[in-house]
């Protein structure tokens, strides 16, 4: 066994305080108010609640949360938005609060995409449009599928996203209610991307626990985007879980676009299991949240399965954005490639933790992982920790992390060509992110994210230069 791990950090360490989380009792109480569901789900929820209570919120003593204190989440009592209107209204009523026009800026100007909108975690038929979707693809609300039994979500739900040791996934499991349920039949190819838009209204300290299930049978193919957005800047909490099962030869391009309110809290887990020769291409873009954590986990369980996990995080102000990835190489002959880049400004704090486990049977594994960070401010901080654990002997694995600042010489080079400091800084920052954005296959999405990167750094005005 070879164990290698390279923690690297820059910036000032902050003292970590942990308060006893009194909010757990509230979660227990609200759990008791959940409406009844089929037995199998009642049991699954109860299991989730039991695990959450016994684990409690993670502390910084937990290796997976070493650089991220969840005290701001644990110390607040977020209430499920769905409970406040239980018995008062029926399905679809949430749509009244969010208008179609509010969503236009989040849908990348792509009317052709199949769009499912969830308001505070609940499916909104009024705001969604996916009528023309292929017949061999089933798309819709998980709550509805649970109610009707269509597609039998119980075959997969709670069986991919492990929650024995993951408190937030356990909490989400306790509150499973709604989300997207997407089933691709064998050989189904979805012509247009499926866009799942999770909107928080941002009223009161509400929590939503969206639960998504994506089951792709053999040789099916789709692009799925999950957007997390808000219509009002406010304090709320999103705790999402997406479970993905990829059959033999299935191919999924998955994009997560996290654009939550900068006063909000976000914990999102994507967990996939991949059969032989399947492909998962994940791109995670994180720009929002006061405290945001994204977990992308995949198991390469079948011979020759492939994954690429790429990501870009942009942090500013006092934001804290944490990205964790875990790739389990279980079967032999699996390539996994990972590139995460971070651009950190202000007093923000970024965390990257990428784990690659190569199991004893996973011979001929080809793993490449890198994490590169650009610090735009002297007060920004990044903790990066790529980890490799290898139990097989015939593997090729590399990993590395870098932390740097804008190159002064490159700045001067641009200035000397007539390009002012604002534009030069924008250009160099954009250039840093360009290659990872380039891996996005969806042209419209790539262009939109490039635009967001450019505009984000266009007016930050923090350029300093020694005066003569």
């Amino acid at each position: 066994m070879a164990r290698e791990s390279g923690p690297a950090s820059k910036g000032d360490a902050e003292p970590v305080t942990t308060r006893p989380p009194h909010s757990i009792a509230t979660y227990r109480k609200d759990f008791g108010l959940l409406p009844d569901v089929p037995d199998w789900l009642n049991r699954l929820r109860a299991h989730g609640m039991e695990r959450f209570e016994s684990l409690g919120f993670p502390t910084t003593k937990n290796e997976d949360w070493h650089f991220t204190s969840v005290t701001p989440i644990a110390g607040r009592t977020f209430r499920p938005a769905m409970l406040s209107k239980l018995g008062v209204s029926s399905e679809g009523s949430t749509a009244g609060m969010v208008a179609r026009a509010d969503l236009r800026r989040f849908t990348f100007n792509q009317p052709g995409w199949h769009t499912l909108v969830f308001v505070n975690g609940e499916f909104s038929a009024d705001l969604s449009s996916f009528a023309g979707i292929d017949k061999n693809v089933r798309v819709g609300s998980l709550a509805k599928a649970i109610q009707s039994g269509t597609g039998r979500p119980e075959r997969h739900l709670g069986k991919i996203a492990t929650f024995e040791d993951h408190a937030f996934t356990a909490l989400n499991t306790a509150f499973i209610h709604d989300g997207a349920f997407i089933e691709l039949q064998a050989n189904a190819v979805v012509d247009q991307p499926i866009h799942l838009v999770f909107v928080s209204e941002g009223q009161g300290e509400a929590v939503a626990h969206p639960r998504n299930l994506i089951v792709a049978a053999q040789n099916s193919r789709a692009s799925i985007i999950e957007s997390y957005v808000c219509v009002r800047d406010n304090t709320y909490f999103t705790n999402s879980v997406t479970e993905i099962s990829l059959g033999e030869g299935a191919h999924l391009d998955h994009y997560k676009i996290q654009r939550e309110s900068e006063q909000s809290f976000h914990v999102g887990t994507l967990q996939a299991t991949q059969a032989r020769a399947s492909q998962l291409h994940s791109f995670s873009f994180a720009v929002g949240g006061a405290l945001a954590r994204t977990n992308i986990y995949t198991s390469l369980a079948g011979d020759g399965a492939t994954c690429t996990l790429n990501g870009l995080y942009l942090t500013d102000g006092a934001q804290h954005i944490d990205n964790q990835t875990r790739i389990e190489h279980i079967a032999p002959n699996c390539p996994s490639h990972e590139v995460y880049k971070g651009i950190l400004d202000g007093r923000s704090h970024g965390v990257f933790n990428g784990k690659v486990y190569v199991h004893p049977e996973a011979q001929k594994t080809d793993g490449k992982q890198s994490n590169n960070n650009l610090l735009l401010s002297p007060h920004a901080r990044i903790d990066t920790k790529p980890e490799l654990e290898i139990f097989a002997d015939d593997v090729k694995c590399t990993h590395g992390a870098t932390v740097g600042r804008l190159d002064e010489l490159a700045m001067f080079y641009l200035n000397s060509r007539g390009i002012g400091p604002e534009s030069a800084r924008m250009l160099l920052t954009y250039a840093f992110a360009a290659d990872v954005l380039e891996t996005i296959e969806l042209e419209a999405l790539k262009t939109a994210l490039e635009g967001m990167v450019l505009s984000r750094f266009a007016d930050s005005g923090a350029v300093t230069r020694p005066r003569r």
């Binding site: 190159d407 002064e408 010489l409 490159a410 001067f412 080079y413 641009l414 200035n415 000397s416 060509r417 007539g418 390009i419 002012g420 400091p421 534009s423 030069a424 250009l427 160099l428 954009y430 250039a431 840093f432 992110a433 360009a434 290659d435 230069r465 020694p466 003569r468």
Partner: protein, 254 residues
């Protein structure tokens, strides 16, 4: 056009230029020669406004304005161009985007309308021929993966596009084979005009066979120790830099 008077400059505490006085008029080509460490490149960098260097004394007037007060981009917008000795690589930014940004920033600063990508491309193709470069380079990242010769040609190409009034070539000949040297020199010569001036900073006389200067200045230890016509370069080539070094020692002793 350019009047340098008693210029002292350096990095941190270290003084490199120790009183440079030099006048450059429109239409002239000046060669600045000197041994390694004499301050040639520092002079070029200071004129372009590299913030790593501090000016401690003296003045520089450019077209009647105080050059030292101007930020580097303002100097460029006013027609100053430095061809870098070591052109910088910028991964992720294409040459086309970079150069069009520069071109438009300069136009904007001079009250002219920006050009769109297509117009720009038309204009640029002509200039590429000047330095014998392929159009494909426009879509490559700035200087990334370029050979030494390609980087130098790219500098001259940029100069051709940006059409400066005062061009400063910093060791543009270093690392070039004779063919590349000829291409670069021809590019520079085609851009010579009665309105423009050029300062050629070089260690070797070789480049001056192709870019014939009106004046030659020899720098040693941060000062101009000798000035003359183009024949001075040949004399230097023959006698070596020790000759001027000795001259300056004698002058210093007097």
């Amino acid at each position: 056009m350019l009047e340098i008077n008693d210029l002292h400059a350096g990095i941190g505490e270290r003084e490199i230029l120790k009183g440079i006085t030099l006048q450059v008029n429109a239409g002239e080509v000046h060669a600045v020669m000197g041994p390694n460490g004499s301050g040639k490149s520092t002079l070029a960098q200071v004129l372009a406004g590299n913030p790593s260097y501090t000016v401690t004394r003296g003045t520089v007037q450019y077209s009647g304005q105080n050059l030292l007060e101007m930020d580097p981009e303002v100097r460029a917008q006013n027609g100053i161009f430095l061809a870098f000795q070591y052109p910088v690589e910028i991964p992720g930014v294409s040459n086309a985007y970079f150069l069009r940004s520069a071109y438009n920033e300069i136009r904007k600063a001079n009250g002219m309308e920006e050009v769109d990508p297509l117009e720009f491309l038309d204009m640029v193709e002509e200039k590429l021929k000047l330095v014998d470069m392929d159009k494909a380079m426009l879509s490559r990242s700035v200087n990334q993966g370029f050979s030494g010769g390609e980087k130098k040609r790219n500098e001259i190409f940029q100069m051709a596009v940006l059409a400066p009034r005062l061009a400063i070539l910093d060791e543009t000949d270093s690392g070039l084979d004779i063919d590349a040297l000829r291409i670069v020199a021809e590019g520079v010569n085609k851009l010579r005009s009665p309105e423009n001036a050029t300062i050629v900073v070089t260690h070797y006389q070789r480049l001056l066979n192709y870019i014939v200067p009106d004046f030659v200045h020899v720098l040693a230890n941060g000062r101009i120790v000798k000035s003359g016509g183009k024949e001075l370069a040949l004399e230097l080539e023959e006698k070596g830099y020790d000759w001027v070094q000795n001259v300056s020692d004698v002058e210093a002793a007097v």
